[in-house]
């Protein structure tokens, strides 16, 4: 349009002849002049508009370029985002993991010197406990005992921390050579926590006859060997089922705990009811003539424990318990084997611990009538840290002492000592806590016994709980 007006003005200027202008009147001239001036103004306006349009176009082109750049970047980013990227590994909260497997346990190494024998490294023991937790209420636990023992034997060192081993561990393997490796399944049980007050346990159970059997792992015990009566008189484990739990009394930390169970109890080594054939730990389970596994006399043992825990203040508490087990032991089912255990443990401050058990058993027999056996043990430990001497070595030492007694048998029919073995043992020793889990122990055991296999001895042990 602008160009058209300019062209029109030019055309008018050139198309009108000179001679014609001469003939133009002043009015016409003025009119034409105004028209030319008007067109000139319009031309200037159009030029200005054109400049503005050019600026606008440039701005739009610039904005278009920026938009194109942004679009290109966005496309590149989108393409990059579309590429598969490895996700960073974020550590999960382990507490939320529903299942868990782990290994606990202990290991012991012993050096001993018994009267009449040379000093020797006598034992290496590895006792792992496998725990598998399924959810919040199910736990499977199994303990094993791998023992490498010097066949030279060390009388009286029932060093095995596994209470399931049959009595007789204290019998020396006299004049042996080399070493013997044994592997025992100490226990294997499935625990199902049914409620806050009841837990069902099934399997090869650690029996709550007293508390020692359940809490006797090598590094838990303050002595390198077990009390005589625990090894000789009661089984450590039994295959069966158990209900157990604890019930708070008031709100001050006191509680009552209980356990009731049925297990395959002691059996007869040869099936007869003769007194000497009682097999405490053997269990009255075996293969019948048709190849099936059966309880040989058809009736399991029943047992239970009732205990009470009384805390007086932190680190001061008393735990008392009474437990019993009874059942037929011979294949004919004519005789009962019965055991009763009274246990007590006292903590006075963080340094002093006293605990003990009294064990009594009785069983009928074909040949000797009722046979009564009994024994008891009491031990005390005092951590020298309680003296506040501020001496590092002294503070890591605990002094321990134990007295235990075993009367192996009494014939109530004839009034005779059946097996005529009566032993009293006095043990004194120490524990040096290298760490809370690594213990260097030692004790000397004085024996007063008519059992020739029981002699004085000195034992050093390094034990580690993991």
């Amino acid at each position: 349009m602008t160009l058209g007006l300019v062209a029109a003005g030019c055309a008018i200027g050139t198309a009108v002849p000179t001679h014609v202008s001469a003939a133009v009147s002043d009015a016409d001239f003025e009119t034409l002049k105004e028209q030319v001036q008007q067109m000139s103004g319009e031309l200037q306006s159009l030029k200005q508009t054109n400049q503005l349009d050019q600026q606008t176009i440039q701005q739009l082109q610039q904005q278009l370029g920026e938009t194109q750049t942004l679009a290109t970047n966005a496309v590149q980013k989108a393409e990059a985002a579309a590429q598969p990227q490895p996700l960073p590994r974020v550590p999960i909260d382990e507490a939320t993991v529903n299942h868990n497997f782990q290994i606990l346990g202990d290991a012991e190494f012993q050096f001993s010197k018994a009267n009449g024998q040379n000093a020797a490294f006598s034992l290496a023991d590895f006792a792992p406990i496998f725990l598998y937790r399924g959810g919040d209420n199910v736990l499977f636990e199994a303990g094993f005992d791998f023992i490498l023992q010097n066949n030279g034997g060390t009388p009286g060192t029932s060093t095995d921390s596994n209470p399931a081993n049959p009595p007789g561990d204290t019998t020396p393997t006299a004049n042996g050579t080399g070493y013997t490796t044994t592997i025992n399944l100490s226990f294997a049980q499935l625990d199902y926590v049914m409620s806050d007050y009841v837990t069902l346990c099934v399997g090869d159970l650690l029996l709550p006859l007293g508390t020692y059997s359940e809490r006797s792992a090598g590094w838990l015990n303050k002595f390198p060997d077990n009390p005589l009566a625990v090894d000789a008189l009661i089984p450590g484990t039994g295959i069966g089922a158990e209900l157990r739990g604890a019930i708070p009394v008031g709100d001050s930390g006191k509680f009552i705990n209980y356990a009731v169970y049925g297990v395959n109890g002691p059996g007869s080594a040869d099936g007869t009811g003769n007194a000497a054939q009682l097999d405490i730990a053997g269990g009255n389970v075996g293969f019948t003539s048709n190849g099936g596994m059966a309880n040989l006399h058809g009736k399991p043992d029943g047992g239970g424990r009732l205990g009470i825990f009384l805390p007086f203040k932190p680190h001061c508490d008393l735990e008392l318990g009474i437990s019993a087990q009874s059942g037929e032991w011979d294949n004919a089912g004519n005789h009962l084997w019965t055991a009763g255990v009274f246990d007590a443990a006292l903590h006075l401050g963080s340094s002093l611990e006293i605990k003990g058990e009294y064990i009594q058993t009785q069983y009928g027999s074909d040949d000797l009538g009722a046979v009564r056996q009994q024994g008891w043990w009491i031990q005390a430990g005092y951590k020298l840290a309680g003296l506040n001497l501020e001496l590092p070595v002294i503070n890591n030492v605990e002094l321990v002492g134990r007295f235990d007694s075993l009367q192996n048998g009494y014939d109530s029919v004839n009034g005779n000592n059946l097996f005529d073995f009566n032993t009293r043992r006095y043990s004194a020793g120490y524990i040096y806590y290298i760490t809370t889990a690594l213990l260097f122990e030692g004790d000397y055991e004085f024996l007063n016994s008519n059992d020739p296999s029981q002699v004085n001895q000195f034992i050093l042990q390094l034990s580690y709980g993991f």
Binding site: D93, E94, A95, V97, N100, F101, Q102, L104, L131, R133, D136, L139, E141, V193, S195, D196, Y197, T199, L206, R215, W219, L220, R244, A246, I247, P248, G250, D251, S252, G253, K254, N257, Y258, G307, P311, F312, K313, P314, H315, C316, D317, L318, L320, F342, A344, L346, H347, L348, S350, I354, R372, W376, Y410, G415, N416, N417, Y433, T436, A437, G465
Partner: protein, 129 residues
């Protein structure tokens, strides 16, 4: 050994053990009560509605003030662990491992479930990871 003598022994031994247990309880109680008032925490009260340690402070001009303190998970941990073995450091295990171990200990040592949960919380709060 004749029968009457054996019977006497069988009667005397459990009786002596019961007396010994009672003596231990009495000794513990005596030691507990011998602590200076106001400094000795008391776990013996069954009247409290929560797990609590009560201490009584006697003042010449004021009535005894009973201050209650809950038994913490740490105290329960120390109390129960020492029944069998030295305490282990909470940092030795992870939170998930402690959960498994506490289930094991709850069953093995017959620890009340509520106390076991308190101990577990303490252990997990202070666990290695």
């Amino acid at each position: 050994m004749n029968k009457p003598k054996q019977l006497k022994t069988l009667i005397r031994t459990p009786l002596a053990l019961v007396i010994a247990a009672m003596a231990m309880g009495a000794l513990a109680s005596a030691l507990y009560s011998a602590e200076p008032a106001g400094t000795a925490p008391d776990i013996g009260s069954a009247s409290s509605q929560t797990n609590s340690i009560e201490s009584v402070t006697n003042s010449p001009d004021a009535k005894p003030v009973v201050a209650k303190t809950e038994i913490s998970g740490a105290e329960l941990y120390s109390m129960h662990c020492n029944r069998c073995h030295p305490e282990r450091y909470p940092t030795e295990r992870t939170a998930a491992q402690w959960k498994t171990i506490m289930l094991h200990m709850q069953v093995r040592a017959n620890i009340p479930a509520g106390q076991a949960r308190q101990i577990l919380k303490y252990l997990q709060d202070n666990s290695g990871r």
